[in-house]
Structures are given as structure tokens and as C-alpha cells.
Amino acid sequence: MIGHRFDFHQPKELDEAADLLARFGEDASVLGGGTMLVPSMSANLVRPAHLIGLSGLGLDSIELDGTHLRIGAMTTYAQLLASPIVASHAPLLAAMAAQVTGGASILNQGTLGGAASFANPSSDAPGCLAAMEAVFELHSSQGKRCMPACDFFADAFRTARRADEFLTGILVSRDATLIACQYQKYKASASSWPIVTVACSLHRGTQASVRLAVGAAGRRPAYHRFTIDERSLLAPDALIEQAASRALNLVGEGWNDELADGDYRRAIVPGVVRRHLRTLLAGAKA
């Protein structure tokens, strides 16, 4: 039961939201879908004096223009799953959303922007969005700024968002070079949070590349883009080994929480990276 008193604000305009955040800063929490924040408040783990809900701002549209797919910060997993635009232009994101568990209440209430902003290491969105090289659109009374995923995910439960800012949308470049992609989360049972996630994709343009992000294993997503030549696709073992050890290095010390410690997470990273890159690249030989 929520054991403190707080003020709830539901702005109708972006500027109004920005003004509230400028005023309350660290004393305020931004409420997206609330699937993490509200349980944390119920357990009295966080006690924000002000809650600023974004649901009145219409931030749940999915739009496609000539260069980008733009997903509003308040877009729910259910909306992602229902969107043909997401299915064709962001198949990795669609694959991630399809693995979200928790039933209707999480699918219909949880938002992509909320999950990204919360930056729980043991979650799906950070790793997936890192692999997509997504760009985060932040709003404040001083205007708008955009930030790439590699900068946005600063640490466990911490993004580069300033206290006076809020996330309005997530941008993904349109990419005609995407050949194949895979998303898989690993966890002990259905009710667990993700323990390690693997997101990877193969791109063949003027220069072939493999993008790999390992989520949940470290404090922030471990991401690298491997530029490769076409020949290495025919015998990818060396590339796969290189990627497995690179991923482990990027993971760093490993994330500890109630569900799993860093040693375990680190122990399984190379194996699952190998597994998914093998499958990803097996299809590319033809």
C-alpha cells in the first residue's frame, strides 16, 4: 500500500509537463505506464513528492517518414505488437515485444518509453533498443534534444535524461540493409525478469555488418557493431568467437540482483551469443 502523500499532475501540453519538471526536478517522478513505478511506490521503495503522468500528452503514436520510424514514448507493447509498421520496419522490436510476459495488464499498460527510461538492467527494452541504435528524443523547458542509445543508457536504473527532461519518442532509422535479426531473452521461468537478453542483426549494404547487444547481463546494454567482409560470412566461426569475447568484455562486472548474480550472467553470455550468431549467420551463407 502506498505509504506516503504525493501530488499527482496530469499535464495536457508538452510545455506544461516541461514546466512541472522544471519546477519539481528531483522531487518528481515521471509516470509512464506505471508498471514499475506504482509497485515500487506500493512497496514504499520510492516516495516521490510529485508524480507527473504523461498519459494526457498523446505520446502513443507510431509514425514513419522518409528516414525514420518514430515511436511515441507512451506506446504500449500491445500497440507495438498490433502495428504493421513496426512489424516491417522494426522486426527486432516486434520480436522483443512478442516475448514480453505478464499478460494483458503488462502488454496494455507497460510502455516502451517507460521501460527505456527506467533502465532496469534486468529488462528487455534497453538491449533491444541498443541493438537498433535507437535515438531518444528528450523534452524540457529548454527545448528538445536527441541522444543515441549508447549515451542514453548511462548505468543501472539511470539514463542520461536530466531531472527536468522527459522522454517523448524513440527514433529508429529506416534500414534497407537489414537481412535478418534475432531477439531472445533467457530466464528461469515465466515470472522472472530477463536474466540475459541477446539482440542481433545482420546488415548487408555497401559494407556488411553484424550488430549485437547483450542486455541484462551488465549494468547497461553491451553493444557493438561488427563490420565484416562478405567472406567471413561463409566461415563465421572466428567472427562468432570474437563477438562472444567482445560481448563479455562489454558486459563488465555483471549485474547482481535478487534473481541472479553477475557471475552467473557472465558465465552464460558467451554461450548464448554464439548460439544466436550461429543461427543468424547460418541463413546468410546462401
Binding site: 500500500m1 502506498i2 505509504g3 506516503h4 502523500r5 509497485p39 512497496a43 514504499n44 510476459t101 533467457y186 530466464k187 528461469a188 521461468s189 515465466a190 515470472s191 522472472s192 525478469w193 536474466i195 540475459v196 540482483d257 535478487e258 534473481l259 541472479a260 548474480d261 557471475d263 552467473y264 558465465a267 552464460i268 554461450g271 548464448v272 548460439r275
Partner: protein, 814 residues
């Protein structure tokens, strides 16, 4: 009690009988025994029209919030409530010292063992001077809303002198270890040794010996409904009414009255429908006294609904086993040795540590092992008190022995099914005495195993496992038996091994049963209605069951050890038979002839010799309005109370000094196939089959529902469920995202086969069905994980979490 059902179809014979599904049906006229009658109140439950305790909180109730110790071991230097009492909505507060002015410690619901250590219990509603475990209540507030009460908790100023806690049994029993429980002179609660034959000699001459270590982590029952209590003090009548999640209402009345310093008759305990309990809601929770105290102090109703993070503090099952098993050159098991070290935490009023003494009592379960030597030490530590949990210790004994048999099979290259088959006790060899003194009633273990093999395609799974051996995802197969003592009747425990029911027919012919047992949500009340209705020639839905009100029902246990139908139902059945005889006499008075010519069926009493009949309702009305004619020669009112106490309980010690506290022994045999991801350690269940035998089944659908629930709980304990503490011994698995219960999509279809081996000691042939299946599932799944690991790693921890599996693989290759 000559109620042996006629024409019972249980005792099948013939060449293929062993493999066949068996059913139970009492063929006497009108009997409903053996029918899967739909739950009488099922529609009310699924449509949300049932009142649980929290639905009954009065509008004007105050709400309780509890400050719990942040430390596992600390002296309470000071508590200052003044700032908290000044917070909005707060009405009153209590520290441990203040509560001690108005209340005493709860007495034990169970005698401490005669030869064991003794000392004061940690059973005050608020800790006094010392906090002995993380989460122990140290101060409490009531406010006009839950929110206000919880908000004010943060304003309580408490100063602790923190000490290093003792958090493992091994540490607690070390020389010079600090005494964990104030007022005691040892941390060793009980030491027990159970022996049969000459184990040393048998091990010395054995052809094969397998040894192992197994550490079982702490797990909890996690019912959907958490604890909830509502107290009202009636100042004029000078009585307390407590409504809540009471699994043992009469026991709770006794303990609460003692703690509140009032007569037992001044406390009424009401237990509405319960949303699951699995042992958690047995007597002795400190919050029961707190709500009552505050209701008297504030002269207002006081309510408390437990938070999930509080429920998850209730641990159990934390045991360590060092075991060895011996076989001769023919694969005959000859000896079993087990050294058990148990961490039972702090000793509260509920006395759930007793579970640890049941673990060694099941050996050697369904196997013919002549020489046994089992030693068990129970240590008190600064962990929260154990809370009773489904399985009640039996599941761990079964787990360990089934692991040992698989280890022996692995070591000798014998097939684990064949090894079991060679060593099962024959049907004809029962009843038999276990080394612990328990007398196993009946069973057909070989038949159960053969029936299981018709349901589970063992050769096909073995072929698949071989094919997958070198892949990243191996297949493991696990088989396990479980022997489940039920109907616990331990001397020194209140209440004990008998139950009482009243069957009452009113002038309209309406029938009410008042019983001292309760349903934990299992639907046992439907079973009781069946047992009564059949005798009275009525349908089950014409009988209503009243349970869980100490002012109204006969004294009884409530819900524990699978007794609702086996004891409470049997008592109601016996009462209904007496009532039936009275109604038959009334019918004979009206229709002529004699009572033994009357049959009650389809709502009528029929005179068999001439077909004359009269409605049962008419008999009831007649007996009330014209007692001197209709009820001539009949004892009135039409209300009969009977108690039922089981045979096969023995309180006189045998030659080894042992008694028999469980009268019935259900069993089951399980087979499971799972996939083990060698890269991550994750297990995924693929196939599950079980054969179960609890003797006569009054309502097979209810039995099967209990069995499936027990199996799912066993799967959870085998793979995922684990209470974890941090370095300061604070619990960190405080929600269902960190304490992982199985979900439907974690589970394979579970195929169930039934056998019916009647219990010769029970008038209807019944045995307990409620816990049965948990230990078999736990063992079969653990065996399957170990089978997938093969010689590459050793399963030394339960649950086999992915982290444990990967660590064990690394150890082996290190």
C-alpha cells in the same frame, strides 16, 4: 461402524489388473461416494460472490501497520512513537513494552519435545527487548486508513544495538556459538536418531554404496490471499470477535485468549472462505493478538491485511542431508544412512519446526531397506520462524531417498526404474512398520509403477535423451515415488487426531452440517455434503456445510494434514447414518412395517416390501410437529453429533521407543521429461505423468485438483522457488518477480492415473489427499535435472536454479 462399502470395484484382479486405471464407487443405494460432484459453491467463487476476510472489514475499522525489525539480531535500545502518533489519521500505537502490559506471550500450540531443549518462545505480539529475526514485529500503529498507518511507520524512531546474526544451522551448533533465542541455553532444539537393523554391518558388506549431499533451500507457501485479521471488542458483552484467515480456528481461540488474558469463551474466532493456505494460516501468528489488543484499546474494529513482502518471510524446508545408500550385488537395497541438519529459525508459537521431525519418519518409504540409521539435528538460528507448509517435511525425506536411488543407479549403470522395481515393498507385505514407528496401512507400489509405464513412454524418452545427449539442450528423465503419511495425530498437539461433525435436519427437511474441519479452498465441504446426502437419500446440493466459527461448530482442527474428509467427513457420515436410522423409524411409523425395510433415496423414504413412500421433508416436518406419533421411539431432535478418531495411531512406545502419529499412507509415482539448456542452466518441462493412490476417493475430481496443485508446488520447489537473504540476512525475495512461482506456461500437461488400494483401518477405506504428490514431483524433477547433467555435474542443491546448475558444471570442469 460396519460401513464397509459393498461391491467396491477397487480390488480388481486378473492378468492386466496391475496396469489398469482403478476407480472407487460405493454401490449401496443412493450413495454418492466416489462421484465427482461439482463444487457446490463453485459458481459463487468464480463469479466473485464469495466473501473473503478482507471483504468483511467494517467501514469504520482502523487499519494496523507493523514496524518490523530491520535486523536479524539486535537489542532494542529505544522506541519513540511520539512523532508517528502525531501523523494524520493515526489513532494509537504500541511498542513491545507497552503491549506486554496488556498481553502475554502465546502458549505453544504443540508441546516441546520432552527430551529437547526448552525456553521461552518468541511469541509475543511485539518483540520485547530483543529482535531475533528479520521481519519480527517491533512496534505497531493503527490509523483511519492503511495509507495513513503505513505513512506513519516511517516516523517511528527506533534505536537498535545490532549484533551479528547466526544464520545457518552449522554456525548455530558450533562450539561457543551465541545463543540465538533469549532465555535458552542451547541452539540445539532436538536431536533424534531412528534406527533399524545394523546399518554399519550392511554398509560393510555392500557390493555398491552411493553417497551424496543435498542442501534444500528455504521456500514458502505463497497463497493467493495473504493473512488478514479483523478484531472487534464488544465492551458490553466483554468479548472479542476475530474474523480472519484462520486455518485452525479452535487452536487460535485458545492461544489468542491466553495471550489476551481472557477466558477462552470470551473469544470468538470466525474463519470465512480462505484463498489458499497450505499450512501458512495455522495458529500462532503475532498479528492475531495485535488486532485484538488495538480493538480493545481504541474501542473500534481493527483490521490488518498482510503485505506480500510480509507473507514471503514465512520460510521452511531449509535442510541439509549427507546420505548414503547400499545395495548388494543383485541390486537389492540393503542399507540407508542419512545425517540431517535442519535450520528451523526462531521458535514461535506455531511450532512448525515439527516438520523437520517428519522428514526422517518416512524412511525407507516404499522400499524394502532393512538397515536404516538416520540422525536428525534441529538448530535454532536467527532466521524467521518456520511456517507450516504443504508436505510438512515428508516431501524432503522422499526427495532425498529418491535422489539416493538415482545416484546408485547412475553409479552401477542400472536402470533407475528397474532398480526401483526390484526393491518395492509388495502389496501383500503391507501393513508394515517403518523404523520410525509409523505403520504403513496399504498400497500397491509395483502396480502403480507398471500403470505409470503405460502412461509415460519411457523407451521413447530414453531414445530422445540419447539423441540429444551431445546437443546444447539435453533431455533428462526423472522417476520418483512418494509415500505420504497423512492425518497427523501427534500427542501434545491441540487439537489432535479426531474430528467432530453434527448433522441437523430442520422442520422443512433442510439439512445442515456443522463441522470442526474447514476447507482451505479445496472444496472439501462438497465432499462432506456428498457423504451426508447419500445416506439421507438427498442430493449433495441439498446439504449445507457450516465451518469455521468457534461459537457455532464443534471443536476441531480446522484444516491440517488432509483431515477434512478423512476425519471430519467420516464423522459427518457416521452422524448421517444415525440420522438415517432415525428417519427410517419415522417412516416406518407412518408407512407401517419396520425401519430396516425402509430405504432413503431420491428425497423419499420407501417401504421396500410394498413400494409405499413418503418425502423425507414430510418426515422431518412430522417429527417436529407430531413427535409422539411420527417420531415415536426416535431420539429427537433430528440432530446427531459424532466424532471420528482413526485407528492405526499408536501412542504407546514400541520396543524402539517409537510411536505412530500418522495413520494413513497415500502414495504416488511420477515420471517427468525435461529439457536442460546446458548453456544457461534453464529447465523446461516437456512431459509429466503420475499415478496416485489415496484409497477410497469420495470425490475423484477434488482429489485430482489437490494432486495437480501439489505437483505444481513440487515442480516450483525443485526448480525455482527460493527465499534469499542478503549479507545482513534481510530477505530480498519479497515479491513474485523475485520469488518465482510456476506459471501455467512453465508447466507441461500433467496426466493423472488413479489406483484405489483401500485403507484397512478406515471404515470407508480412505486416506489423506491434500499434500500427496508434492514430494514425488520435487524428487522426479530433481532426478530429471540430475539425469540430464549425467556425469558432468552433481546436483547438490534444491532448487536446481540455472545459477546452481551452471556453477555445478563449472565446478566439475574446473
Amino acid at each position: 461402524m460396519h460401513n464397509q462399502p459393498t461391491n467396491v470395484e477397487a480390488a480388481q484382479s486378473g492378468p492386466h489388473a496391475a496396469n489398469m486405471e482403478q476407480t472407487f464407487k460405493d454401490a449401496s443405494p443412493g450413495s454418492l461416494l466416489g462421484e465427482s460432484v461439482a463444487r457446490l459453491d463453485g459458481a459463487r467463487f468464480v463469479s466473485g460472490r464469495v466473501d473473503y476476510s478482507a471483504d468483511l472489514i467494517p467501514r469504520d475499522a482502523l487499519h494496523l501497520a507493523i514496524l518490523r525489525s530491520a535486523h536479524a539480531c539486535a537489542r532494542i535500545v529505544s522506541i519513540d512513537l511520539s512523532e508517528a502518533l502525531a501523523m494524520p489519521g493515526v489513532v494509537a500505537g504500541l511498542t513491545g513494552e507497552e503491549a506486554a502490559l496488556f498481553s502475554d506471550a502465546m502458549p505453544p500450540a504443540m508441546d516441546l519435545p520432552a527430551k529437547g531443549a526448552r525456553g521461552p518462545l518468541q511469541s509475543r505480539c511485539l518483540a520485547l527487548e530483543e529482535a531475533t529475526y528479520f521481519g519480527q514485529p517491533v512496534a505497531a500503529l493503527v490509523a483511519t486508513s492503511v495509507h495513513d498507518a503505513q505513512a506513519a511507520l516511517a516516523k517511528i524512531r527506533i534505536e537498535y544495538e545490532v549484533r551479528a546474526p547466526t544464520v545457518s544451522a552449522r554456525d548455530a551448533l558450533r562450539d561457543g556459538a551465541p545463543i540465538v533465542q533469549p532465555g535458552w541455553d542451547t541452539n540445539l532444539l532436538v536431536h533424534d536418531r531412528i534406527r533399524s537393523g545394523d546399518a554399519d554391518a550392511a554398509f560393510a558388506r555392500a557390493a555398491h554404496v552411493a553417497r551424496g549431499e543435498l542442501t534444500i533451500g528455504s521456500s514458502t507457501s505463497a497463497p493467493m490471499e495473504t493473512l488478514c485479521y479483523v478484531a472487534e471488542w464488544d465492551a458490553r458483552g466483554e468479548r472479542y470477535a476475530l474474523t480472519g484467515t484462520f486455518q485452525n480456528p479452535h487452536t487460535s481461540r485458545w492461544l489468542i485468549a491466553a495471550a489476551l488474558r481472557v477466558k477462552e469463551s470470551q473469544v470468538r474466532v470466525i474463519a470465512p472462505r480462505i484463498g489458499g493456505t497450505f499450512g501458512l494460516k495455522m495458529a500462532g501468528h503475532p498479528e492475531e493478538v495485535l488486532v485484538a489488543l488495538f480493538s480493545r484499546l481504541t474501542k473500534r474494529p481493527v483490521a490488518w491485511i498482510e503485505e506480500r513482502r510480509e507473507t514471503l518471510l514465512a520460510g521452511a524446508r531449509s535442510q541439509h542431508h549427507s546420505f548414503e545408500i547400499a545395495a548388494d550385488e543383485n541390486g537389492r537395497l540393503i542399507a540407508w544412512r542419512d545425517r540431517i541438519l535442519v535450520d528451523v529459525g526462531i521458535i514461535g508459537a506455531g511450532h512448525s519446526w515439527a516438520m523437520a521431525l517428519v522428514t526422517p519418519a518416512v524412511f525407507p518409504t516404499v522400499y524394502t531397506i532393512e538397515h536404516c540409521d538416520v540422525e536428525c539435528s534441529l538448530a535454532m538460528t536467527n532466521q524467521p520462524p518456520w511456517q507450516a507448509i504443504r508436505g510438512y517435511g515428508k516431501e524432503i525425506g522422499n526427495l532425498v531417498l529418491e535422489r539416493a536411488i538415482d545416484l546408485l543407479a547412475q553409479q552401477t549403470g542400472m536402470d533407475p526404474v528397474e532398480l526401483r522395481r526390484r526393491n518395492l515393498v509388495a502389496r501383500e507385505a503391507l501393513p508394515r512398520l517403518l523404523p520410525s514407528g509409523l505403520n504403513v496401512d496399504s498400497g500397491d507400489y509395483p502396480g502403480g509403477l507398471e500403470q505409470l509405464l503405460t502412461m509415460f513412454d519411457y523407451p521413447r524418452w530414453q531414445a530422445r535423451a540419447r539423441a540429444a545427449r551431445d546437443s546444447e539442450c539435453r533431455i533428462g528423465i526423472g522417476v520418483a515415488f512418494e509415500l505420504t503419511p497423512e492425518g497427523g495425530a501427534r500427542p501434545g498437539n491441540f487439537p489432535n487426531g479426531y474430528e467432530t461433525s453434527t448433522v441437523r435436519m430442520m422442520p422443512s427437511g433442510d439439512v445442515q452440517v456443522l463441522t470442526g474441519v474447514t476447507s482451505p479452498g479445496s472444496g472439501s465441504d462438497t465432499g462432506i455434503a456428498q457423504m451426508v446426502a447419500g445416506e439421507l437419500g438427498l442430493r449433495a446440493d441439498q446439504v449445507s456445510i457450516i465451518e469455521g466459527d468457534t461459537d457455532v461448530t464443534p471443536l476441531g482442527t480446522g484444516n491440517a494434514s488432509s483431515r477434512a474428509l478423512m476425519y471430519g467427513g467420516t464423522a459427518a457420515y457416521l452422524a448421517a447414518r444415525e440420522l438415517r436410522d432415525r428417519l427410517a423409524q419415522c417412516a416406518a411409523n407412518m408407512l407401517g412395517g419396520t425401519a430396516d425395510d425402509i430405504v432413503l433415496r431420491d428425497g423419499h423414504a420407501r417401504r421396500q416390501s410394498n413400494g409405499a413412500q413418503i418425502a423425507v421433508a414430510e418426515l422431518a416436518l412430522g417429527a417436529h410437529l407430531r413427535p409422539f406419533t411420527v417420531a415415536a421411539g426416535v431420539t429427537l431432535p433430528l440432530e446427531v453429533t459424532r466424532s471420528f478418531a482413526p485407528k492405526n495411531v499408536r501412542v504407546e512406545p514400541d520396543a524402539q521407543g517409537r510411536i505412530a502419529t500418522y495413520p494413513t499412507f497415500s502414495y504416488s509415482v511420477h515420471a517427468v521429461a525435461l529439457e536442460l539448456d546446458m548453456a544457461t542452466g534453464n529447465s523446461k518441462l516437456l512431459d509429466y505423468a503420475v499415478v496416485h493412490d489415496c484409497g477410497a476417493m469420495i470425490n475423484p475430481a477434488l482429489v485430482e485438483a489437490q494432486l495437480r496443485g501439489a505437483i505444481v508446488m513440487g515442480i516450483g520447489v525443485a526448480l525455482w522457488e527460493l527465499i534469499k537473504m542478503d549479507e545482513q540476512n534481510r530477505m530480498i525475495t519479497d515479491r513474485f518477480k523475485s520469488y518465482l512461482l510456476p506459471r501455467a506456461n512453465d508447466l507441461p500437461p500433467i496426466r493423472v492415473g488413479h489406483r484405489v488400494t483401500l485403507n484397512p483401518f478406515h471404515p470407508l477405506g480412505m486416506k489423506g489427499a491434500g499434500e500427496s504428490g508434492l514430494g514425488g514431483a520435487l524428487a522426479a524433477v530433481s532426478n530429471a535435472v540430475a539425469n540430464a547433467l549425467g556425469n558432468d555435474a552433481c546436483l547438490a542443491h534444491v532448487p536446481a536454479t540455472p545459477a546452481r546448475v551452471i556453477a555445478s558444471l563449472r565446478e566439475r570442469f574446473a
